[in-house]
Symmetry: C2
Subunit: 309 residues, 2 copies
């Protein structure tokens, strides 16, 4: 089975919301796990609006402590409490968030009914999470305050045994794990059946790099190289490259250039300045440099890697 | 002219938002001034959604520091900064809010481009604001943490001089201010024209009492007596009176009973628990006790006092 790996856009606006767009948040689904990427004001309402499994989020990754990336977190934490959540919540962010949330607890004289674990992100390539299938690492961005993107990488999967061969060679159950790892099969008559003849390649591991907010930099090119999907902020059209530099944000062309240099398979733009109404120029400018570009918009679901089926 | 006096509902849900309802906020308009009452998460989006004059709000009144009443404030303050606001903002709340907002400034390394003045509310009947036409006072609620409602009272207006009498008695310009205050007119021949003959009554001053969150109490009955409009929280239907007592909230019947005892002209219910989908029973239960009951819902505009015209 090819596990589901997709991200749902909850907010695509930079800095301030508009009447059309919310500020940054995405819900990443991998297999049966849900990860929240940034949690701007209104994220809990967006999760409800799009009928997403609010309660199944156990890990929240906050890139940095500008309001448009975390101001929905206190409300979400309180709502979980009021909804009777019992299972732990893990929050990953640059330092400072635990103090903020703690102060909100104190003034409201409320402590959640469940444990919230705060994990400080402070280092490039720091591994923040792993399970059997997935690993999540921090990617250092270059922004006005400490900021980290996140790389979601599937682990190498085991080889699949071709069904007919199980009968044909009477492969014993105990030998299967090693065959799946790539070992050849030794038959009772000492004959060797090469692994390649009885297995097929697993689907290649997929990866998603979430990079926001940052000015143009190639400093993390190594980490995102070949990613199936790169989300990169594009706050401005390219005629505002000067403003972008000043505010340590990126333009369409810069995001697309990085996607091209990193050889990613698909680019997803977002974090648009509230000044833009019509997004067509974003698409045009980016696609001129990197044709496989998508524009994030609220409610959109983007699959990481080849479409299943 | 009868100045506009109305409140617009931005959120009607208690504690947690639902897919239909936001948590507490109202925009009160009096003449050409705008006041925000509570500022839950998403309030800035609701103001945009209903095309309300975001930038014209200069005074924000926060009843208490439970998340569902103030978590939209940091985002609104940051958005004002990003939108280039220059004029002062006044925020009134029980103690603690300045520390919270200050911490958000610190972690984001952002300070607004305009002045935010925090005013601590700590006393029943404390006058928080006044202008030529309006006075705003704190009303002590009884809730789990320090909580204050707000009473918006128009000042007594001057008497109106009946137009025809100005010509008939050749009332000199200099005498008008005193006549408007109720003085009789002395003619050149020493004859006295009683004030009542040359003026008519101004419209009676109107008042709006915003009471949330609180359990049932008659402790502030004196302050809200005869109000044109009373907003009173009704978190639960009356079969949950026990739960309401425990959590220091009110039921439909309790809110309606208070409205009746206080002799207010109209009651507006809101702050409904997220458990309720169909609001019809709220209307029925409250109207059985106090027929002039309205139910708050997002986007609704309620006029304080008699309908103009």
């Amino acid at each position: 089975m090819f596990p589901v790996f997709q991200t749902s856009i909850l907010g695509s606006s930079a800095a301030t919301p508009t009447s059309e767009r919310h500020t940054s948040a995405q819900l990443l689904m991998h297999h049966n796990k849900f990860f929240l990427l940034d949690c701007a004001e209104g994220t809990q309402m967006q999760l409800r609006r799009f009928r997403m499994p609010l309660m199944k989020v156990n890990h929240i990754f906050i890139t940095h402590l500008h309001g448009d990336h975390y101001l929905g977190l206190p409300g979400l934490i309180f709502s979980y409490h009021l909804l009777g959540r019992k299972h732990d919540l893990h929050v990953y962010s640059p330092p400072g968030l635990e103090e903020i949330i703690g102060l909100h607890y104190r003034v409201s004289q409320l402590r959640p009914s469940y444990e919230v674990h705060f994990h400080e992100v402070g280092e490039h390539e720091q591994e923040l999470y792993q399970d059997k299938q997935l690993s999540i690492k921090a990617i250092a961005m270059e922004h006005r305050i400490p900021t980290f993107g996140f790389l979601f990488s599937e682990k190498e999967r085991e080889r699949k045994i071709i069904k007919e061969n199980i009968k044909k060679y009477r492969i014993p159950y105990q030998k299967m794990p090693m065959i799946k790892k790539g070992e050849d099969l030794e038959l009772d008559n000492r004959q060797i059946v090469p692994n390649r003849e009885i297995t097929f390649d697993p689907p290649p591991p997929r990866s998603y790099a979430y990079c926001s907010d940052t000015h143009y930099t190639e400093s993390f090119l190594g980490m995102i190289r070949g990613a199936d999907l790169l989300y990169h902020e594009a706050t401005f059209l390219h005629d505002k490259a000067e403003v972008a530099r000043e505010k340590m944000h990126s333009t369409t062309v810069e995001a697309a250039t990085l996607a091209k240099k990193a050889g990613v398979k698909q680019l997803l733009l977002g974090h648009y300045s509230a000044r833009y109404k019509d997004m067509e120029l974003f698409r045009e400018e980016a696609r001129a440099v990197f044709p496989q570009t998508l524009l994030a918009e609220e409610g959109m679901v983007v699959t990481v890697g080849p479409q299943p089926g």
